[in-house]
């Protein structure tokens, strides 16, 4: 986990509950009604996460509240949303550690809103897909591991859980819908490193006006990433690679 995702309150012991006000963004696709903010009071246990609070609201106060959730432990990337204007995974965002009496909950930005806290993740998938990044990678653990008989090597999943936090946090994706975005560009670099896709195709993805060059190093993507992808670091390393390629091509050197 990165520093932006602090763990649940220290010792996991229950404590006195405290009342917290939640301002939750509400909207309904196709209803024609203007989006609004609904206010809910929740008595928050020190161990509660924002996702726990949303469940509390849905089961106890407003069953029409829509949000996505799955694993509840930062592995699936389903529950990403803006909490107090910051893009986080709600399942690991402790409410009381936010330190505010009012907690504002909104859907991710940039991605097309559907209803309430649910957004359309299709554009993200459409951006990442062309990179051809395979979700499995060789584990770094192999260097130290003694694999048992019959096991060739250990593999693990790529860090990116495609939660969309980085895309929502990026200042450029907010205005330029053609920008490939941090997730896709990070995937492009990972695919390049692993040889998952033809390099020419990846360089074409990265080296266009709305590819890697549109990044202004706001570094918000890396800051909000709950899964240690470091999209900004990968994207800028990709830029360096593209530049080296261009220079090589200019001088007719191989590669």
């Amino acid at each position: 986990m990165t520093e932006s995702q602090r763990p649940l309150s220290g010792n996991g012991r229950p404590g006195p509950k405290r009342p917290v006000t939640f301002r939750v963004y509400r909207s309904r696709a196709g209803s024609g009604a203007e989006p609004r903010f609904d206010t809910f009071q929740v008595d928050v246990d020190p161990r509660m996460t924002v996702l726990d609070a949303l469940e509390d609201i849905r089961t106890g106060q407003d069953p029409t509240l829509l949000y996505r959730h799955s694993c509840h432990h930062a592995s699936c990337g389903t529950c990403a949303m803006k909490v107090n204007h910051r893009d986080v995974l709600s399942c690991v965002t402790n409410v009381l550690e936010l330190g505010t009496e009012v907690v504002t909950v909104e859907p991710l930005g940039v991605l097309p809103p559907i209803s309430d806290l649910v957004v359309d993740m299709t554009p993200l998938a459409e951006q990442i897909s062309p990179t051809g990044l395979k979700t499995l990678r060789l584990s770094e653990y192999n260097a130290k591991a003694v694999a048992p008989e019959g096991v060739g090597a250990y593999h693990r999943f790529e860090n990116c859980i495609e939660c969309g936090a980085c895309v929502s946090a990026c200042p450029i994706t907010n205005t330029d819908s053609d920008f490939l975005g941090p997730a896709a560009l990070a995937a492009t670099y990972r695919a390049l490193l692993k040889g998952d896709t033809l390099p020419e195709k990846l360089y074409a993805l990265a080296d266009c006006e709305h590819g890697a060059w549109r990044c202004h190093t706001g570094w918000e993507c890396t800051s909000v990433c709950p899964s240690d992808v470091d999209p900004a670091g990968l994207l800028t390393a990709l830029r360096r690679r593209v530049l080296v390629q261009k220079v090589r091509r200019l001088f007719g050197i191989g590669g």
Binding site: P130, D176, D178, F179, D207, C208, G211, R214, V242, L243
Partner: protein, 121 residues
């Protein structure tokens, strides 16, 4: 929504030029500011000081180079801000043309001023 690759073309890559021109400007602009504000008495050159300054051939060359580089960096910068707004290809082309014209006008204006001071004042 047509993605960036489908729209075609490798039109990326002015960023490195933006960075390089910026680094060069650190020196040129630094020199310029020091020469204008921290050399002359009272921190500003009077009319005769300006003339003797710009009539120095080395300085004239440096100042014109400075003007070209700073205008280039400025126009590229504005282009970047506008491009981030997510325009259509056609809108972007229009912006490029406009900014190029503005850049040329600014440089021409500055060069004219320099010529005037060197030859006519």
């Amino acid at each position: 929504m047509q993605n960036a690759v489908e729209r075609g073309g490798s039109r990326g890559g002015t960023w490195p030029l933006q960075a390089i021109s910026g680094i060069v400007l650190l020196f040129l602009l630094g020199l310029h500011v020091i020469a204008q504000h921290f050399v002359a008495a009272e921190g500003m050159r009077n009319f005769q000081d300006v003339l003797s300054y710009i009539r120095n051939p080395l300085i004239l060359v440096l100042e014109v180079v400075f003007l070209v580089v700073v205008t280039y960096h400025a126009m590229l910068g504005v282009r970047g801000v506008v491009a981030d707004l997510g325009l259509t290809r056609q809108q972007e082309n229009t912006v490029n043309v406009v900014l190029t014209l503005v850049g040329v006008v600014l440089v021409a204006w500055g060069v004219y001023l320099a010529w005037f001071l060197v030859a006519r004042a």
